[in-house]
Amino acid sequence: MKHIRNFCIIAHIDHGKSTLADRLLEHTKTIGERDMMNQVLDDMDLEREKGITIKSHAIQINYKHKGQEYVLNLIDTPGHVDFSYEVSRALAACEGALLLVDASQGIQAQTISNLYLAIDNNLEIIPVINKIDMEGAMIPEVTDQIVELIGCKPEEILLASGKSGIGIEEILTAIIERIPSPKGDETGPLQALIFDSVFNSFRGILVYYRILNGSLKKGDKIQFVSTGQEYFADEVGVLKLTMTPKQEVKCGDVGYIITGIKVAKEVKVGDTITLANNPAPMIKGFEEVKPMVFAGIFPVNTDEFEELRDCMEKLQLNDASLTFELETSQALGFGFRCGFLGLLHMEIIQERLEREFNQTVITTVPNVSFIAYSSKGDKLTVNNPTEMPDPTKLSRIEEPFIRAQIITLPDYIGNIMTLCLGKRGILINQSYLTPTRVELVFEMPLTEIVFDFYDKLKSQTRGYASFDYSPIGYRDADIVKMDILLNNEKVDALSALIHRGRAADFGRKLCEKLKELLPKQQFQIAIQAAIGAKVIARENISAMRKDVTAKCYGGDISRKRKLLEKQKEGKKRMRQIGNVEVPQEAFLAVLKLD
């Protein structure tokens, strides 16, 4: 155990974590030349396409230092805010963290938030200025920023470039010399913390853990403490680029286990694995994640609900931040109300369902979680517009607020102020971190940042702003439920909870968008947005007058049949609201508003 080091790489998004991991794996020959590629640990299609890390990824390195063999367990983590839960779980499996800072960008919002997470977990921090090969590298300034932030000595900061392979040797040395070896009772009863899991269609359910005490052998009879379920350890091993089976995974190490678990729900990230015949108590797991955004996910074909449920459970194995419960919609049938950490997270879940599980789904209007107080004083959490009580029975509604921290260049203060105040933000603090870097702190309603805040912030600052936020509780809000009606039939899946001041504008835009997205039908369609009985916006789609093509001779038949077959296929995917046929895109209209 003295020769094990568990560490993760943390940073703001795009500061070069995965690229630096490449160099560490290459230098230590963990990955052969043949298997090497850029950001090799980003092995999900989506990660490669988007060029970002979505999942934490653990891999074991063998490294000889001063004649001594060491085992280094590296965990690469994502940088995007929506995936900070991935970071916090990775931290729990480590004693140290490499904190990367992009030399051309300096400290950014998630540098700070991830650093605090690491400090909370008592990790040894090794600060690294990365990308020093870049022309715009500002090594002295960034050194000052880091010294200021973590109170280290300048000489404790390493310089590196994941791209050109500078500083790799020094980093490996620092990992071995500065990060403490894991502590734990090697001979005591087994306690292993589950920090991740995944469903593999060939191997079944894989569980990843970090052993805190004792050891785990192949063939052991194990128990999951929180569920009390017992299984046999069919296979145990460590994570190289592929899984590497071992007879035993020892105290302090990170590994995987395959048992015969069939039911995804039996595995809980944060649970403790122990031995059935020599049990130990539960160790402290992870804080429950608090979803920030809720939306419905429904199967496109109503009869695929059970299949979707199965896939959601399997996906949840690999994404502990996904929460869901049953939801029924008049328009869409049975589905799930899901909690996400943000809109990117929501998009990733939908994409993963489609790619990894072959599900085609409809995602409905996302909203934050409100608290409604009835006139009788009852308190109700509302994650779904359909759950909002009738206004006459309500005394008040509260909405979640966040503390938004934005780091930017002084040039953009004006734009950011306009943006945030326009989103009902309240400026709390403005301070210069250095003469060229300003930190702005706002308190803002969460619902205002859910939709298009990132994009606006990016465009208003030409990318020179980073943003982080944390919830600060609930505050009174003037929230109304806005419904959409098609030929007087309410479309529950399009209802939205929205600030009263925004309703008219939002309603108008939504009606216009729906007019674009709904195909003409044989009768007129009235699209209305209403608050209660009061219509606040309206559009009409005139009836289709004619749907017939002129010619149908020998050469036209095949093409025409294919066209109509396609049309029929499209119609199958539509939902019937009263007499109106609604294509799926319409349910996503809200996400497409400018």
Partner: protein, 342 residues
């Protein structure tokens, strides 16, 4: 090209087993063929295939190509039916459509043809163009009727994507086709044709009794046919094939005695869907008995259930166990067909 087409006829000789009942010169401008070329093709067809003595032999002609001289040699060559692309009898419309012929030619060529002994004439008329008022539309139909033409094909102007017309419309240089006008003019047409004694035997085709196009009817009855020349389509009941459209490639391939075809074999369901799509467009409609015989009874049940709402809202009637579109239903034939597809 003519000799390539003749070579193709020889290569395709075995495609059609049954006697040939109709021959159609169309697609492009066969009225530009010289007497010798026309002769050459017809002789080859008669040589390679068994042609019925009373076969319908149609030639497509542009009004400006028609002359007494040509009419005479067409007649002598055995052509017994003319299809003339009149489009409109008004100069303004013809100009808008970029047609080569004048309004006078439109009328005169019909009279010439009749004088030359062609009674079996069909003309094309177009409606729904921006320049065509309801009044002019009525006059176009009336002119055709008064000229004693026994068959009319009427097409609504359609803007095919990526054509010059489409571009002009997107650039707002031209008014878009108005589906309301088109729907109204089609409805008017159905009434006028009926008044004048025409049968509306297919969505776009109107005929006096005895003058239906035997050739086009074969398409709608699912009969087998063979097309010769670039991009021509053929059908033998279960597979459909079409020649390459590029002239140069067509010639080259035929030169090497290779048929430049792409073949598509239709599944049972595809055959049924085609049947639904085509038959719904005809006056006789969709025969449930025939579907039961050629496919299965389940398909009939499905169709009956699917048709229910159209029967209720007067888009369809059930007659002799056939589903037949009403006038109103004919306006929506495509959507209804797609809806009824299996």
């Amino acid at each position: 090209m003519v000799s390539a087409i003749c070579t193709e006829a020889a290569l395709q000789q075995s495609y059609i087993q049954e006697p040939v009942d109709t021959i159609y010169f169309g697609g492009g401008t066969p009225s530009l063929l010289s007497p010798a070329e026309l002769e050459q093709i017809l002789q080859q067809v008669f040589k390679q295939f068994t042609v019925n003595t009373d076969a319908e032999i149609t030639l497509e002609a542009n009004p400006d190509d028609i002359s007494t001289e040509k009419l005479t040699y067409w007649k002598n060559a055995g052509i017994n039916r003319l299809s003339i692309g009149i489009q409109s009898f008004f100069a303004e419309d013809l100009q808008w459509m970029n047609r080569a012929h004048t309004a006078d030619q439109a009328k005169a060529c019909i009279q010439l043809a009749q004088q030359a002994g062609f009674n079996n004439i069909t003309i094309d008329l177009i409606y729904g163009t921006p320049t065509l008022t309801d009044e002019k539309w009525q006059q176009n139909v009336a002119t055709a009727v008064s000229l004693n033409i026994p068959h009319i094909s009427c097409y609504a102007l359609t803007v095919e994507p990526k054509t010059a017309l489409d571009k002009m419309i997107t650039l707002h240089k031209m008014e878009n086709v108005n589906s309301e006008t088109q729907s109204r003019q089609f409805t008017q047409l159905m009434q006028w044709a009926d008044d004048a004694g025409f049968e509306h035997y297919e969505i776009s085709n109107f005929a006096k009794p005895g003058f239906r196009s035997r050739h086009n009817s074969s398409y709608w009855q699912g009969k087998h046919y063979l097309g010769l020349g670039p991009s021509a389509h053929s059908f033998n009941g279960i597979s459909r094939q079409w020649n390459i459209a590029n002239n140069a490639l067509y010639l080259k391939s035929i030169e090497g005695n290779v048929l430049p075809v792409e073949v598509e074999t239709l599944t049972n369901t595809q055959q049924l869907n085609e049947y639904i799509m085509i038959r719904l467009r005809t006056m006789e409609g969709l025969s449930l008995n025939e579907i039961a015989a050629r496919w299965d009874i389940n398909a009939v049940h499905k169709l009956r259930a699917g048709a229910e709402k159209y029967l209720k809202n007067d888009m369809m009637v059930l007659n002799n166990n056939s589903l037949i579109l009403t006038r109103n239903g004919r306006l929506f034939a495509d959507g209804i067909a797609a809806d009824l597809f299996c």
